[in-house]
Amino acid sequence: MNTLRAKYADEIQAILAKYPPEHKRSAVMPLLYLAQREAGYVTVQAMAEIAEILEISITDVASIVGFYTLYYDQPHGRYHIQVCTDLPCALRGAEDFLKALCQALGVEVGQVTPDGLFVIEEVKCIGACHRAPVFQVQGDGEIVFHENQTLETALAVIEALRQKAQQEKEGTA
């Protein structure tokens, strides 16, 4: 049973309608976003279901997941703290900022914090070069920018998110 198709029949129809019927595989990227929204990452089952919908092989789908950096094939932290370290940002101290942030959280780039909430990532240009150090927080279906950051302001942002998660946990408990 194709759970993705069952659950999002209309949305999948709308995505497929954007492309010519004989070129269904074009819908692979939007469908991967859909699957990722559903489970937090792209599961193997989701890849199989997308392959079935588009009539391509699961390997084809997996190769797309592997190529593009915004798709995840593993569970990962709820919030992605993405720090840009490209040249303009590097000249404004982004590399030191990233190092200090990793140290403060006790993780390396790409590692998830023990509470499963945060993962720090080094990313390429996010288009806020003149206000570096800058990071974006991706999570809960949105992207929030934090510009002109210091270690202190960044930790405050992280702490606020941690408290939010904590309250949610207590609220449901």
Partner: protein
Amino acid sequence: MKMIRSMVLVSGDSLSLERGAEQVLQALQNEIQAFGLSDEVSVMMIGDVGRHDALPMVIVYPEAAVYGPVRPEDVHYLVEEHLYKGRIANDLLAPVRELSGRIAWVAARKGTLPAEQRIVLRRVGLINPDDIEEYILHDGYTALGKVLTEMTPNEVIEEIKKSGLRGRGGAGFPTGAKWSFVAREKSAKKYIICNADESEPGTFKDRIILEGDPHSIIEAMAIAGYAVGADEGYIYVRGEYLLAQERLRRAIEQAREMGFLGKNIFGTDFSFDIHIHTGAGAYICGEETALIESIEGKRGQPRSRPPFPTTYGLWGKPTVVNNVETLANVPPIVLNGADWYRRFGTPSSPGTKVYTILGNVNVTGVIEVPMGITLREVINIYAKGMKGGAAFKLAQTGGSSGSLIPASLQDTPMDFDSYAKAGVALGSGALLICDENTCVVDLVKVLMNFFRKESCGKCNPCRIGTQRAYEIMCAIAEGRGKMEDLDQLLWLSENMYLLSNCGLGQTAGTPIKDMLKHFRAEVEAHIALHVCPTGVCKIKAFA
């Protein structure tokens, strides 16, 4: 009917509210009424204005004077001076600090900063991007109406050709010629693609256009569709640009509702529709054939060319691929004519260019100025000089595939041909300005790191070349470099240029070449003396 002559905006982010923005708004409304200006001046509170140093802020258009911090007791004087007597209240102006993409700076900003020439950005910040009616009030969709009812497709192409418009994505290819290649193809199906996969580090001009004036892109794509005989288009937006995607989606819906997209636009037999395709974090997809592969649902790896997309593009059909800024130039050209457009810029590169100014200067941000302005002018006039009075060392243009511009080229006009003649490239419009404390070895190392990560891996020269170049740069930065490495670097750079499949590999070696041409002594100091003259690299600083 009310004729609004001034628009007053009050910043309404949380910090402004905390500092009494509501009271300022209230006072403005009272004072404007007291002066009997209610019919000519609109007042509203907006969100975050993009800078936070002098909140709450009051911005008055069309002068784009930025006042701040404004207290309720300042309002009487402000209204009397600026709105009643028409003079800028200089003593209330906010300090000049930062140009922001979110605050629009109109052409005649008598207030705080030097005038720009805004064509592409003329509506950004002045209209609500989520409201098609505001776009229409500002001449929106009149250009589309004009081409559909008064011009033949061929006349549109001729007008664009005559205007001399060249691609703003970096390569500077003449737009009219590109359109004519697609127009002459005999195919029942053709496509228009807007390349909004802006990912050159340091460049965010397209983002500002998409977020601030999304309808201008929709209108331009429809005009292009009419000119070349296409009835469908795709906008390829970076996955990271969520706000731009949202605004485009809403804009497309509104345009469909109003009949500017869909069947029989303006009652003619021309039909056109647009879809959004969202990227997923791959720099290489900004290359047009990689972008097409990506829309086709494949890995974003560039195709071999020829055939070019103009003959064999999306799903094998003739396709126009234009950059966001290029397209944004189209409606004004159609509306005002090629002769008007040629009044701006230089004969070989007419029009304006949007630059993002970054680095060690006093004012950073976005400007739109005529082509042909010099780097020295940008630094001294718009960027208000180097930070802390340091000396200018170099500027890096157009993201990572741009050139390093040494001080000796500061007075070269910034247009496609003058730069090409000087052996450098204008790129995509980023100006990363570095002062004397920047180490060129460190800088090029960071650039090489970018290329090695973003190389798609399809062809060997680029995949291996960028990696090798990065390793050598690391060695030099750490004091392990050898003189032969410099020859090796040049050899790599040359071979990547000659043998790579696409623009990424071909330009990846440019910074190396520029570094060795203009700053060779500094590099050699790292190798022969094991010192970093600027003290940036973690080897001995120059004592």
